[in-house]
Symmetry: C2
Subunit: 433 residues, 2 copies
């Protein structure tokens, strides 16, 4: 056999082997289509299944069932599946590969106060905040949590004196995130207790939760209670990212909370982080996570690091910057959706929305609108007192204003669902009279 034939043969064999190794990774798995699930089915179905033999691989989940024009549209959770379209375009830049033997230990970095945090996650969090300019990181401890909900509880635990006779009061200005009272009170802790609207609170010892931009209404907020004495503030900055709001200043509060769910859209990864100034507070927050879940999934931390790296690479890679720019995608989508929503509300005539505000965004270096992740929708029709019930009657599931310390004429609507569900929502809303 001449040499060139041998070379050709060897080369083809290598190609075949490479394809065999590569292809299984890039075959897009078929999404489940469990059909349209009614609300009742969603909440009451399901006896334990005997299960199959389990030897055949089953595909990863795809989130809520696919929708059709007759489906009930669920916009009560802020499920951020809008961002899937962006991440489908990024190829393997944000792909995670974990060999079977990797990161089996509980420990990640025993020299860090947050001993279970992956060093690369810490670095990528700091890098992204420097790139975006939305929060100070120098002199701060980074802590990782199982979503920012766990870190919120960790902050309540860390800020409540262990020897207090009375539980510390936890407050937030209404309308406040419905999860705050639920998370504060579900275990009936003797350390902290929900005390309602911050603007009517009287007392010295409190923890004020400040969400800005605010969930549910998108308002830009500051603490309303003085932070002297034994009052403390926790800043929930989940939505302080360029796709939702102009970045007007580098936030530098004592405790700041962020989450993958709203920054990059990776809710299923369950990764949040806290930037904490005081070492003793950071130590106590870490202790909470330890007692609650021992540590935080390293697989998720590694994925989060990969994803955050891909976001930063879009902007600060210099000449080699990626063409995939998350915040550009996000701003464009949010602006378009808010335009559609305002048009639908106008076409309907029975809804009102918060006024559009804007500001100078230091990140985009231009004036940008506030495009909140939730719409805070008010039903203006005289005979509709329960807006959530009214919308549910039209197969749109939202969260009632009641749950946010506001009236039932308001509802919170997620703006982050997939295009098909959002489009159906918009069409239905515009048709309501």
């Amino acid at each position: 056999m001449p040499l060139w034939r041998l070379g050709m043969f060897a080369s083809l064999a290598l190609n075949a082997a490479a394809l065999a190794l590569l292809l299984p990774r890039y075959i897009v798995s078929h999404p489940h289509h469990p059909g349209v699930v009614s609300l009742d089915q969603q909440h009451h179905a399901c006896a334990p299944q005997p299960g199959t033999s389990g030897a055949a691989a089953s595909a990863p989940s795809t989130g809520k069932p696919a929708v059709t024009s007759n489906s009930v549209i669920h916009l009560d959770h802020g499920d951020p599946t809008m961002f899937e379209a962006f991440w489908r375009e990024t190829g393997d830049a944000a792909e995670l590969v974990v060999p079977g033997w990797q990161t089996m230990s509980y420990f990640s970095d025993v020299s860090n106060v947050c001993w279970f945090m992956e060093p690369d996650f810490d670095q990528q969090v700091r890098r992204l905040h420097r790139t975006v300019g939305n929060a100070a990181v120098d002199g701060y401890h980074v802590l990782v949590g199982t979503g920012s909900t766990q870190l919120l509880m960790a902050a309540l635990y860390a800020l409540s004196p262990a020897d207090a006779v009375q539980p510390t009061s936890v407050v937030s200005t209404a309308p406040y995130y419905s999860w705050y009272p639920a998370v504060t009170d579900f275990l009936r802790s003797g350390l902290f207790r929900w005390a309602g609207d911050a603007s009517s609170f009287i007392g010295d010892a409190y923890i004020e939760l400040v969400c800005s931009p605010n969930n549910p209404d998108g308002a830009i907020r500051d603490a309303v209670l003085g932070s002297g004495g034994s009052g403390k503030a926790v800043h929930d900055l989940a939505y302080y990212w360029p796709q939702y709001t102009p970045i007007t200043r580098r936030a530098d509060h004592d405790i700041m909370l962020f989450t993958m769910s709203k920054s990059t859209g990776h809710a299923g990864t369950r990764i949040g982080w806290a930037l904490v100034k005081d070492r003793e507070v950071a130590r106590r927050m870490t202790k909470f996570v330890e007692l609650n879940t021992v540590s935080v999934s390293k697989d998720s931390q590694l994925r989060a690091a990969k994803v955050l790296r891909a976001v930063s690479d879009g902007y600060d890679g210099g000449a080699s910057a990626s063409r995939h720019r998350l915040f550009d995608f996000g701003r464009r989508k949010m602006a378009e959706r808010w335009r559609m929503l305002r048009e639908a509300a106008a076409a309907s005539g029975i809804f009102s929305l918060p006024e559009e505000t804007s500001g100078r965004c230091n990140f985009a270096n231009e004036t940008a609108a506030n495009n909140p992740a939730f719409a805070w929708l008010r039903c203006d029709r005289e005979d509709v007192e329960d807006c959530a019930g009214f919308l549910r009657g039209h197969k749109i599931v939202t969260r009632s204003g009641n749950q946010f310390g506001a009236g039932p004429r308001y509802v919170r609507v997620s703006m982050l669902d997939r295009d098909d569900a959002y489009d159906i929502f918009i069409r239905r809303l515009a048709s309501l009279k």
Copy 2:
């Protein structure tokens, strides 16, 4: 250019592209060698670091620092790094690959009571229990948690009446896992409260935690309190796997807890599961996880499913069964380590250990010894009242019996560390007189 030359060129180009895609994945990352970290450094070091630019990739963590013959050996946590050696041999059978856009939603299966559980994880849990025969799964709900610690709290929440005037008493027979009182009481919940040793408990309303094989002493246990009236039991079966103990029966308790940390050694993945008979209890446990961390990392669930599948494939694959058999590896290692430990204790002459027990293992189909994941070591030297302090003086860090409701003459020692650390521990122990 003749056709064969063009073909050859194209083929070589494809090879080059394939190599570029494949190579980075298979380059084994260099483990960190942060050197020997003293106890003091471990617990007090670390001011916030300004951090690097973060553009360069940094390797995943490797757990506790590597040890040398002079190192302090940390055996106070049950860090299961012994299992790394097994998983290094399994190639890509347990490798996880997650594309950037996958499993971004909060939701996994809205028809399941545990709506955030990946269907493949559910299937692989059921399959493994059927393969091993250690627990019944038919008629049970599977629930996933961020480690079994979260599910333990979930069970306390689910079993405590929300309207009770007094918190429900939580008890366990001494010596009990030191984490039980800590996890029960750290939030000073009004729903449940630690009430100590089950064998001296008097009362009607209680939750008994039954750990079998028991942490710390490896004993096989049953509930000691009757389960009539308003008493309930939670069975923590973290160690009921063939590497630790003979599988003598298919457990079928109302609530059974398991964890990846001890079954396969993937502690950093933070995945535990519960098998729960009653639907309402399963619903309330799911509610706890929701309020605590919203859901459970899907990346970790997918990894756990992959790992559990690889374990089952070792045994029930029929003719195509894998040659990698986790429980064979585990039993061999544990038997060897226990032999070494008993020899070292005999050589020293100042320590005693629980007697070896054995039983008929239905899984291995032969008589097998109980080889617990922890050694419950007693210092017999008259003048040593604080065994943990004595061992710490010889650079062996263990957990004092005090923390388990037993005396300070006892310590708990992890048997699951890496070979090098375990070998140093054994040599040191044998030399103590």
